[in-house]
């Protein structure tokens, strides 16, 4: 059992409260996932020509600033680093691909949690309340975000196996369920150039959607293609630079509830997560139908 949440803020005036509301939603899913939590927030766009990456190292005293200095010297560009516990948000006036390649070559001990120009990703062990507190999620403004709370039932509680999974620039996925054809699909994706970091089934789904988006599919088209190619149980919530989408498999044995007002749209595994959102009493609340792609876009 796990809990997933997603919040997409339509009204610009409410974007300052994104992190606070998303935190509330994640804490609401504590009973479904008390072991670890992860969250991706789309906020604080990078300056033109800059990229940002969320990085992780288990050692809280890791020499992030020295690493950022090395990167600046290697690229001969400006870098900046912002520390949050054992995560760091690295900004660089460079292409994100260049930074990722440099990190892989020179600092393989660092895990890249997410990259792009907007998205920041934080994952940690512990109850959702302590995770959102540790990373100051409540103070983060932004347009949208997704989150996951995990109850470990079949593998260790580690950040590697924690959602959200990111597989492309400013793209991430959370999943409640399990896929049954992930091994075959992983091979199929590997032959098409996708590189995997874990044996996790959700990473396969994330890279599958990244592959489809990379082929030029829209968010909706990518998810519709997934209905055909992904076998198993799933409720997905996916974020992209300017979009948010929700999809359930045809059996629909994993729960989901959607709520929408003029100001925001929110998704969660259970209504408990949504109970604290402003204006939820007057929101339209419904269960997303199986195999129907629900998507929202900023544009």
């Amino acid at each position: 059992m796990c809990g997933i949440v997603g919040l997409f803020v339509k009204n610009p005036e409410q974007r300052a409260d994104l992190g606070a509301n998303l935190s509330r939603m994640l804490v609401g899913m504590t009973d479904r996932g008390p072991d670890s939590a992860g969250i991706a927030v789309y906020h604080d766009p990078s300056a033109s020509g800059w990229c940002k990456l969320t990085l992780f190292h288990p050692d809280e005293t890791y020499a992030w600033r020295a690493m950022a200095g090395e990167l600046a010297a290697a690229l001969d560009e400006e870098t900046d680093v912002f520390l949050k516990a054992n995560h760091a948000v690295l900004s660089a006036e460079a292409e994100e691909g260049e930074v990722r390649a440099w990190l892989a070559a020179h600092h393989p001990e660092i895990r890249i949690m997410g990259y792009g120009t907007l998205m920041e990703v934080y994952k940690d062990k512990g109850k959702p309340a302590s995770v959102v507190d540790k990373y100051g999620i409540a103070g983060m403004a932004g347009t949208h975000g997704i989150g996951h709370t995990r109850m470990a039932t079949e593998s260790a509680v580690t950040t590697e196996h924690s959602h959200p999974f990111t597989a492309a620039s400013d793209m991430c996925l959370v999943h409640n369920g399990s896929l049954s054809n992930h091994n075959r699909l992983r091979l199929w994706l590997q032959r098409r150039g996708q590189v995997f970091e874990s044996d996790n089934d959700t990473e396969v789904a994330a890279r599958y959607f990244a592959h489809r988006l990379g082929e030029g599919a829209s968010l909706r088209e990518a998810m519709e293609a997934g209905l055909k190619d992904l076998d198993g149980f799933y409720t997905f919530a996916m974020g992209t630079r300017d979009g948010f989408a929700v999809l359930r498999d045809g059996i629909a044995c994993k729960p989901a509830v959607l709520a929408e007002t003029d100001d925001w749209v929110a998704m969660a595994s259970e209504y408990r997560s949504l109970a604290g959102l402003p204006g939820v009493a007057d929101a339209k609340v419904w269960e997303p139908e199986p195999t129907v792609v629900y998507s929202w876009s900023l544009n």
Binding site: A252, P255, E270, Y271, G276, W286
Partner: protein, 227 residues
């Protein structure tokens, strides 16, 4: 009227108080506020009391209900009125999956839509949904009536026994052994009375009736080679 605030006290305290009510209780009308999607609100009631819940509820609300009338002014999560024995459960909004699953008696009314697996293995309960229902509803239904004023999803009435299904709108693919049957004057009268009891306005002459073809009741030796 007894008011119980779930923001001020836990769900177990509420259910415990409701369970301890004696048959001659004077606390016959309850109002529950701040449900905030909590699970298992007002489950296992056994006295003919009236419980009104102001807001959205989580899973298994009014499960195993006996005698009581439970009204939810909001939406509800999975397993509304599961295994209801008698009494009435009403939700003014939408309900999620498994409404009145295995219900043995009583009446469950959903004024909005219900999700998948509505009335699975129902054994005597009457269910009236003003909106539409999801897939796999009335799976292995044995007794009772399921009324859907809107549309029914795929695999309606799969492996159904003797329950009766009335559908006002469209149906998807029917489940195994579920067939459309003639809507006689007797059935129109039966449905009219049930709609009236549920307080749902709909024209009973516009409904179609579905039930069991009774082909799965016995093993058919001609199918032996299929196994």
């Amino acid at each position: 009227m007894t008011e119980f605030d779930l923001a001020a006290a836990p769900i177990r305290e509420l259910n415990s108080r409701l369970h301890k009510l004696p048959p001659d209780t004077n606390e016959r009308a309850w109002r529950i506020v701040n449900p905030r999607g909590a699970h298992s609100i007002a489950v296992g009631l056994t006295q003919p009391i009236e419980v009104r819940i102001a807001g959205h509820v989580g899973y298994y609300c009014a499960g195993m209900n006996k005698e009581a009338t439970v009204v939810i002014d909001g939406q509800c999560g999975w397993g509304l009125a599961e295994n209801i024995m008698s009494g009435t459960v009403r939700v003014t909004g939408n309900a999620s999956q498994g409404v009145a699953a295995t219900g043995r008696g009583g009446l469950v009314v959903v004024e909005g839509d219900a999700g998948a697996r509505c009335g699975v293995s129902m054994k005597g309960v009457d269910i009236v949904v003003a909106g539409s229902i999801g897939h796999m509803s009335a799976f292995m239904a044995q007794r009772g009536r399921l009324v859907v004023c809107g549309d029914a999803g795929d695999d309606l009435g799969d492996s159904i026994y003797e329950a009766v299904i009335y559908v006002g709108g469209k149906t998807g693919r029917l489940g195994a052994d579920c067939v459309e049957k003639e809507m006689t004057a007797e059935h129109v009268a039966d449905l009219r009375a049930l709609l009236e009891r549920a307080g749902i306005e709909a024209d009973p002459t516009k409904f179609r009736r579905f039930g069991s073809a009774r082909k799965l009741y016995h093993f058919n030796v001609d199918h032996a080679d299929s196994y």
